[in-house]
């Protein structure tokens, strides 16, 4: 009986305690930079597309919400002709980000993407592409990869040795 009175008192004292509710639309909760929210496609520090249309994200996606078509530009750089994410299917697992070899696809701490029409949840490449490099500001895939593209021959990448001359026997 006394324990009941005590618990009544303890609960009553909470009338003067701080409320833990975050008043959402006015006050926003802090989401860490690694939060898995809206997916974006990022760009190089130079402004070029990072995505090389390797399809690894589409393969890694457990709900098959990513679809894309690869193509090549005049310099021989692969890029996606279209890149489409159906966010009504996406489960924000982040596997696409982990699979991506060029840091192109990234998840951001943004969750406010409600829509009245389901069709509006299908994001095209223009909706996904952002202007910045996202979480990896200095990374440029084509500058570290050993692939020859227009404007950069083999062996000209950062930290890359010149190609081995297979016709010479010298070490």
């Amino acid at each position: 009986m006394l324990s009941l009175v005590r618990s009544l008192w303890e609960v009553f004292r909470h009338a003067f305690a701080r409320r833990v509710t975050v008043q959402y639309p006015e006050q926003k909760a802090y989401l860490s930079p690694r939060y898995r929210g809206r997916i974006v496609l990022t760009r190089d520090p130079d402004g070029g597309e990072r995505c090389v249309a390797c399809n690894l994200c589409a393969v890694a996606c457990p709900v098959d919400c990513i679809s894309l078509q690869a193509t090549e530009d005049e310099h021989g750089r692969r890029y996606p002709e279209f890149f489409r994410i159906n966010f009504s299917r996406c489960i924000f697992c982040g596997y696409c980000e982990e699979a991506c070899p060029t840091y192109a696809i990234q998840l951001t701490p943004d969750t406010e993407m409600g829509e009245y029409k389901r069709n509006n949840l299908v994001y095209e490449k223009a909706d996904l592409m952002i202007d910045g490099p996202g979480k990896y500001p200095d990374y440029n895939f084509w500058r570290v990869a050993g692939v020859a593209i227009g404007g950069k021959g083999k062996g000209q990448a950062e930290n890359e040795l010149a190609p081995v001359d297979t016709h010479s026997l010298m070490p």
Binding site: L4, S7, L8, E10, V11, F12, H14, A15, A17, R18, R19, V20, T21, Q23
Partner: protein, 317 residues
């Protein structure tokens, strides 16, 4: 002419106040529970979330009023009406201020007890007519709980009646001019408070409802405004018991400075908040614990209280 219209005016005012307060309690309860759980509760619709009352009522009225095909139709429809009707009829004997009462019966306390006990029919019939085993279990629990708690509810009030020498509410209040009855009758007050919570089937005595074990018990088959009627009936019951406590033990409208009706409203509101605090803080007992407390602890205590009060009053005269 005026004397004929006065009772009608009183009835209109009482109905208006009680029904609006019952609807408003939905908001009060949610805000208070939230306060004690460090949340905000409904605070979006209108100032302080007061528009929630209107929003909730509109929602309840517009919901589909579904009567399950397996239910016993007439009884099923009647049950929610009984709980509201009996609770409202009880307010006929509640004096809000001196002279402001619909029927100042000389057996007011008995009338109130009788009417509030009739409310159990609603729960039992609802449980029975729903043709659902959980509802039936809830109804049976309600019946057993009412029977056990009704007994010492009446007995706990008898001490007050002995001291006041009348069953009439106005006489009982006037008898508290010197001292509130809660002081000589503190045991009776505690017993009546516990019985009152059980009578309104509020937590921690909501075993008839018990959403975690009986999936809402007697009203699990109800929807729309029929479900709303059970809610309103429960809230009217809470107001009624709070009003009765403030009349019988805390001097009703008596108090300095402020007008009598305001004193009565303040005291009643305090006990309504206490009811909500019970809900926020206390766990629900097991059914056998409920029964054994009722019969083995509360009833003997009520009898002892009655005997001692009677002996003291006799010794004084």
């Amino acid at each position: 002419m005026m004397s004929n219209l006065y009772p009608l005016l009183v009835i209109a005012v009482v109905l208006f106040v009680v029904l609006n307060l019952a609807a408003g309690l939905i908001w009060v309860e949610r805000r208070l529970l939230a306060l004690w759980q460090d949340r905000y509760g409904p605070n979006r619709v209108g100032p302080f979330g007061l528009g929630q009352i209107a929003a909730d009522s509109i929602k309840l009225f517009l919901k589909e009023d579904w009567i399950p095909p397996f239910a016993d139709n007439p009884v099923f429809v009647l049950a929610p009406a009984i709980v509201v009707a009996t609770a409202l009829i009880s307010f006929a004997v509640v004096p809000f201020a001196p002279g402001f009462v619909i029927a100042d019966l000389n057996i007011g306390v008995l009338f109130l007890l009788a009417m509030s006990s009739l409310g159990v029919y609603s729960v039992v019939l609802a449980g029975w007519s729903s043709n659902n085993k959980y509802s039936l279990l809830g109804g049976i629990r309600a019946a057993a709980q009412m029977m056990s708690y009704e007994v010492f509810m009446g007995l706990s009030l008898l001490g007050v009646v002995i001291l006041a020498g009348s069953f009439r509410f106005t006489d009982i209040v006037e008898a508290q001019r010197g001292m509130w009855f809660v002081i000589p009758q503190c045991l009776g007050f505690v017993l009546f408070l516990i019985a009152g919570v059980a009578e309104t089937r509020r937590l921690p005595f909501d075993l008839a409802e018990a959403e975690s074990e009986l999936i809402a018990g007697f009203h699990s088959e109800y929807s729309g405004m029929k479900f709303g009627m059970f809610f309103v009936g429960e809230y009217i019951g809470v107001i009624l018991i709070s009003a009765a406590i403030s009349l019988l033990f805390f001097g009703g409208w008596l108090g300095p400075v402020l007008p009598p009706a305001l004193w009565f409203a303040t005291k009643t509101m305090f006990f309504i908040c206490l009811f909500i605090l019970f809900r926020a803080a206390l766990p629900r007992p097991r059914f056998d614990q409920l029964m054994s407390w009722g019969w083995k602890v509360m009833l003997p205590l009520a009898l002892v209280n009655l005997l001692v009060t009677g002996a003291v009053v006799l010794a004084r005269t």
